[in-house]
């Protein structure tokens, strides 16, 4: 299975994951500082900053796009409960 790597900048840990993994599946296991609310892409609590590798994430769904807009998110922000890593390296930190 293709692999990707997620680097959680706040705790200094890089995790190798199968392509298609959602950030939420990794960040809690590794103890990163991203916190979650609804876990369903509605509340915006888990908004994080993509420091590098935005192109290696799946495009946001309509729901995620709407919530990001409502949260006045910048172009580097994504929701950790929604974002899927597809390939390569992604560097993230809590939003």
């Amino acid at each position: 299975m293709p692999k990707a790597q997620v680097l959680f900048e706040d705790i200094g840990v890089a995790v190798t994951v199968p392509a298609g993994t959602r950030l939420i599946e990794v960040s809690e296991k590794v103890g990163a500082g991203i916190t979650y609310g609804c876990r369903e892409g509605e509340c915006g609590t888990c908004m994080m900053k993509i420091v590098k590798g935005m192109e290696n994430l799946a495009n946001p769904s309509l729901l995620e796009t709407k919530v990001l807009q409502e949260q006045m998110a910048g172009r580097q922000n994504r929701l950790a409960c929604q974002a899927q890593v597809l390939q390569g390296e992604v560097v993230v930190r809590p939003g």
Binding site: Q5, L7, D10, I11, G12, V13, A14, V15, T16, V17, P18, T21, E25, V26, K29, V30, G31, A32, G33, T35, E70, M72, P94
Partner: protein, 430 residues
């Protein structure tokens, strides 16, 4: 200054609007029997839900409403000073239910009025009204936007997180009146309404800051320059007395409260690590000392150790607020961390913690669940927990104390940005 006597209820039972300036009235409600607000606040003599009506040459604005069960009082006062068909503008500085309880009925009675909320508020409005936010008619505003009432205008100040994401202040430009929302407010109920008439509310003012605004200290400090630049004749908050005597003094006090609580003697370049522990047989205490010794091997880190049994929670919270990192040690008793530790951790929502370093450690007899529980709590409080917690069974060996020493050093390296990145496979994670 308007000097009309404050008369809050007429013999017939109607509620009086109270003039606060020329064609500006308080139309809120008194809740003198309330003793607990939002569960977290004590209210020794109740509170007020302050709402205001501003009349201009070409329109009437209502600023905030009241808690739902006080709607009759609010509408009675509003009707003293305006007809519903005159209302052109409704401003919500904050959408919590104690300020929006009468909104649905006000919208029904004044359907022509335009609703103005901050650009962070639409989601909350939708949640409050259980209404389709797409079709609900409102205008979002932000810093510098304004609404004309003819000869008067309302200008909006973007002041988010005081104390919700949606909060804003509204400034009546020509009169120098700030409708501040919750900031500069307090839970203090006195029908005399004005700060120069009511009883001594200093405690309530500061208590309100400590419990409501302190967690958002950085946002207070971001908002204060917007207010400090204004000409201020009156501050009309959403709770408690209206500040007409020396209103700027309350702004100054907020700056004092929001700036550093402790005189930090560490070099500005040093990072600070505070270690709190509690120990039944001295084992967790020994671990704390070894962690301290390890952390002190790294330059640029100032480490302090405190026994939780030797102090009160409040000053410890102050210490944590100022620190860059927090390590907390607890034995495991009956499968849990001990109560004094939870007591401290339950009070930390009063202070900003996001991004601080957190860590947990402890000695145990049987199973050692406390460390994992504390790590989960620290993450829940938005601390980062980069170093897996360290737990050991009963009395530490020399080797185990060396592990504690290394743990402390790693914490210090993390604090100073010197730690090496780790690479793990997801399959290795529990």
């Amino acid at each position: 200054m308007i000097s009309a006597p404050v008369r809050l209820r007429r013999p017939g039972g109607d509620f009086d609007a109270v003039p606060v300036a020329e064609d500006v009235h308080w139309i809120g409600a008194l809740d003198p029997t309330l003793r607990s607000f939002d569960i977290i606040l004590k209210t020794a003599n109740g509170t007020t839900y302050n709402s205001y009506c501003v009349r201009g040459s070409e329109g009437v604005a209502v600023i905030d409403t009241v808690k739902a069960e006080f709607a009759d009082e609010f509408f009675s006062r509003l009707e003293q000073v305006a007809r519903y068909d005159e209302i052109t503008t409704i401003v919500l500085n904050h959408l919590e239910p104690d300020h929006t309880g009468a909104l649905p009925e006000l919208l029904r009675r004044a359907p022509q009025a335009r609703l103005y909320i901050s650009h962070r508020a639409p989601l909350m409005l939708k949640g409050l009204l259980k209404h389709d936010g797409e079709s609900l008619d409102f205008t979002t505003v932000t810093q510098g936007d304004s609404v004309s009432l003819g000869d008067r205008s309302l200008r909006f100040l973007h002041t988010p997180f005081l104390h919700w994401p949606d909060t804003q202040c509204t400034y009546l430009v020509e009169d120098g009146i700030l409708f501040s929302g919750d900031i500069f407010g307090c839970h203090f109920c006195d029908p005399r309404l004005f700060n120069d008439k009511v009883g001594d509310f200093r405690f309530s003012f500061e208590y309100y800051y400590q419990h409501i605004m302190r967690p958002f200290r950085e946002h207070v400090l971001a908002a204060l320059p917007l207010v400090e630049d204004l000409a201020l004749n009156l501050i009309c908050p959403a709770h408690g007395p209206i500040h007409r005597d020396a209103p700027r003094g309350y702004v100054k006090r907020y700056r004092q409260l929001a700036e550093s609580q402790l005189a930090n003697e560490a070099s500005q370049r040093d990072k600070t690590l505070v270690i709190f522990y509690i120990s039944a047989y001295g084992n967790t205490a020994v671990m704390a000392q070894a962690i301290k010794d390890g952390a002190e091997t790294v330059d640029g880190v100032r480490v302090s150790v405190y026994d939780l049994q030797g102090g009160e929670v409040t000053p410890f919270v102050d210490l944590i607020e100022e620190a860059d990192g927090l390590a907390i040690g607890s034995p495991t008793i009956n499968g849990d961390a001990v109560k004094p530790v939870w007591d401290l951790l339950s009070c930390l929502t009063q202070v900003p913690l996001k991004g601080k370093l957190g860590a947990a450690f402890g000695s145990y007899g049987w199973s050692g669940e406390a460390v994992g529980m504390l790590e989960d709590r620290l993450r829940g409080l938005k601390l980062r927990v980069p170093c897996p917690g360290i737990k050991l069974k009963l009395i530490p060996t020399g080797e185990e104390l060396a592990d504690c020493h290394a743990f402390g050093r790693n914490l210090a390296l993390q604090l100073t940005g010197q730690a090496a990145f780790r690479v793990v496979d997801i399959a290795e994670l529990a």
